[in-house]
Symmetry: C2
Subunit: 266 residues, 2 copies
């Protein structure tokens, strides 16, 4: 059973090593395991949960529904991710969390979290995780605002490759992506139809391979270059897991050259 939780340990150790004792503490929270079917809400907007959920298996997401029924997925929660740390401070959920595929989750009571955060190393690691979540959100915003559909999807696939690699869920550049193309569309602000076409296009260009719900990146370097992917925002600082930067786009934070307009100067 510890092989499931160790996802969490594995992820947090991307930031800094933990002692045996600390790892043991984290391993403990597999107790009240809960199976949740696909497309079920775990937490709803307006809720004031008194526990934290940890995903052990499957994909979940943060999402909002706006007037008109449109849905925006704002984050993917993959194995090893916490759901709603924020509920500790912000009393009311401002968005929903729902499963995309069937999931295994554990509910961790407030008291356990408080005990964990008494260990500075764990507390810092959890803080790191929440900051990485924010950084990811920012990158998604860049993705949505500035990249055309095909590169947007490519970028997401690169991100998932790196994130899932960090928790050991990638083999031969292949990982399970148990979501529908509708979900993908709602993630990228595209219609299913267009998401489908762009996916097909990536396939045609031999960049990826799509099996049933399995993605294979056929040319990592080219896909990263195509989508402008740079893993720095994931802050996988532990050298052991550091992705090589060689094939990443290197930004030049230079206002004077960028202020021309939103346009492509090419």
């Amino acid at each position: 059973m510890s092989s499931t939780t160790s996802l969490l340990v594995r992820k947090l150790e991307c930031f800094q090593p933990l002692s045996q004792e600390e790892k043991a503490m984290l391993e403990q929270c597999t107790r009240p395991l809960r199976e949740v079917g696909a497309r079920q809400d775990i937490i709803r907007e307006g809720d004031t949960p008194d526990k934290v959920f940890l995903i052990l298996a499957g994909f979940a997401c943060r999402y909002k529904i706006i007037e008109g029924g449109r849905r925006q997925i704002m984050a993917y929660l993959v194995p090893g991710d916490f759901c709603d740390f924020q509920a500790f401070i912000l009393n009311e959920m401002d968005h929903n969390i729902g499963t995309l595929s069937a999931c295994q989750v554990v509910e961790i009571p407030r008291s356990v979290i408080l005990a964990m955060t008494d260990r500075p190393a764990i507390a810092r690691s959890l803080w790191w995780a929440s900051l990485v979540d924010s950084a990811t959100l920012r990158e998604w915003l860049v993705n949505m605002g500035q990249r055309p559909a095909e590169q947007r999807i490519a970028h997401l696939l690169c991100e998932l490759l790196v994130r899932l690699e960090a928790v050991g869920l990638v083999t031969d550049n292949t990982y399970m992506l148990p979501i529908t193309q509708t979900d993908l569309g709602d993630t990228m602000g595209l219609t299913v139809v267009h998401a489908n076409r762009m996916l097909a296009s990536l396939r045609d260009e031999a960049l990826i391979e799509v099996d049933v719900r399995k993605i294979t990146i056929r040319d990592v370097r080219r896909l990263k270059a195509f989508s402008g992917f740079n893993a720095n925002y994931l802050h996988l600082d532990n050298p052991a897991r550091m992705t090589r930067r060689s094939d990443a786009w290197i930004p030049r934070g230079d206002l004077s050259k960028a202020r021309t307009d939103n346009a492509d100067p090419g």
Copy 2:
């Protein structure tokens, strides 16, 4: 001089009241005041700052430049906002922070921050602020992904109204917005040209008024309804500042009805 920093106190008290002592502690950090001209970078991607910056006056933003020179602004930093708390944990900046208008900032050394976070009330308030930043980012993602240009801009103007109200920078539904339309476009993922047209359209519909760099919301209720704005994500929990919810769009976190597609079922 305390009238400037009290912005910070005022903002943090949106979350919870602070003692005189705590307020005094926060007021202290006006010391090394720095004037920064418009469109200057305060922190660059790749930097590893050892201090935290607090905006006292003016507008700054988080932004990234991607391949091709396109810029995405990911957050506005208004008076009372901290710049880079994350640098305490994440060793390297993954984005830039630059001024939009001329700004007054203070640099707060690491030691002072550490001292502040020894006070639980302050620590929790700062944590609250960072969670609100994340929530805002999520709302921006929804905005970019799901709303057409005109509503997108309207939504931003509503948000700024509420945020600036919270720090006392709004009078008669009017506030200074010292940014160019190019900045606005880069914020919303639009070209200047289109941003300009949508702004003109909002003006024509008598929803807003645009002076030089001054925005007046002529009909708050209608602008909120038009843009689907709901202030809940800003978590202004302190009842004294609570915005009335009456005119806000109320979501229904209902997967079954939303899963139809990304399309508008109307």
